[in-house]
């Protein structure tokens, strides 16, 4: 049921289409995504503290790319805002979007855990 699910967390149809319909591989990529996300968000927190807008822009860009690759729509949009905040040196926007990004990531984790329970 979850595999067909398309909502604002993840667009399964387009993510699967992009990687040739391999569901196991999508799971592997989602695993890598979570690892990479944690690393990026740690760096992002540090960049916010240091008000390093170049780093904020780069990290936002990176997160945007990874999220877009897996059709994680809300995460991609928040990452895009972080990237823009970096480009425009807008600290308030960067902080706001990072908080939203973390919330979205939490939603994704819950969604994936629920999916795993349903599959098990």
């Amino acid at each position: 049921m979850f595999n067909e699910m398309t909502d604002s967390i993840i667009d399964y149809a387009s993510a699967l289409e992009r990687i040739g319909g391999d569901k196991e591989f999508l799971d592997e990529l989602l695993g890598i995504y979570q690892e990479e996300f944690d690393l990026n968000v740690d760096s992002l927190d540090q960049a916010l503290l240091a008000q390093d807008f170049t780093a904020i822009q780069e990290l936002g860009h990176n997160l945007k790319g990874s999220s877009a690759n897996l059709s994680l729509i809300q995460l991609r949009d928040q990452a895009y805002l972080i990237e823009t905040a970096g480009t425009e040196s807008d600290l308030a926007l960067a902080q706001r979007s990072t908080e939203e990004l973390k919330k979205e990531f939490q939603r994704l984790k819950e969604h994936l855990a629920e999916k795993e329970r349903a599959g098990a």
Binding site: R18, E35, H61, G65, A68
Partner: protein
Amino acid sequence: MKVLIAEDSMISCRALESNIQTWGYEVITTRNGQEAWDALNAKERTLTNGNKIRIALLDWEMPKINGIELCQRIRSRRKVQPQDYIYIILMTGRDNQEDILQGLEAGADDYMTKPFDYTELKIRLQNGERVIEQEKIQDQIQATDSLTRLWNRNKILEFLDEEIDRSSRQNQPTSVLLMDIDGLARVNESDGFAAGDHILKEVSARIHDSMRRYDKLGRLGDDEFLGVFPNCREEHIQHIAERLRRAVVQDAIQMESGTREVSLSLGGASTSIFVSCTGPQLLSTAQEAVAKAKAQGGNTTVLLQPQRKQ
């Protein structure tokens, strides 16, 4: 065919790697521009033909060296020294006209905007492969001597340099034989250049057919040929030289008017674990040796040892 991926996002990198491997390519993944540049310059990867990176998928925005700069480096490297053409696809989240033009101007062959469709990527890689195949044919034509169909001067000297480089790292010997057809100038003078060309073709074929598959032969110019013998010691090169000399001398060459006896002077030199030297040093020793063989009346081999490098 080997494909290099330079992509800082772990997720994109893994997705690309998996897909591209499924399509039958060998993949090298790197996570930033510097790593990619190092991979492109790694000696081990350029050792044998067909084993080199021929397609590069470069992310536009990467730490250290970005995709555009990497693209420019790859293209300008080829101007400085002969290099195989690398087909470059830039991957970018940008899709505005100006950025794309900047990418193409930097030397990219193609670009894709992210997130991209893998079916489209597959087709774009196939396009790249077609271009590389054409380049290979072009390179082959450029590296071939039109009369003898052997490698030309540039190509055999390039091979010699690569071989010396490789063998010295692996502590293996390399030998060369410089071969000069005796009295060809006289044939050209008395019977015309067509007769001389006929002899050149016949002699080169005889030498070539008597060599091992992994030994290489090229025409250095006029009546001079250079053979490069990887992993071949001084003791062995004497036997090889004798075999080649006999292959040329044993049967007279059939000419339009009758037959003609032809002989070969050979000069040899080898590197060893005791004597390491550069390609030009080895060649100049072989030139000295062939001059001595000529001075002894031709139809013989002289071996000399290169001077120990200071």
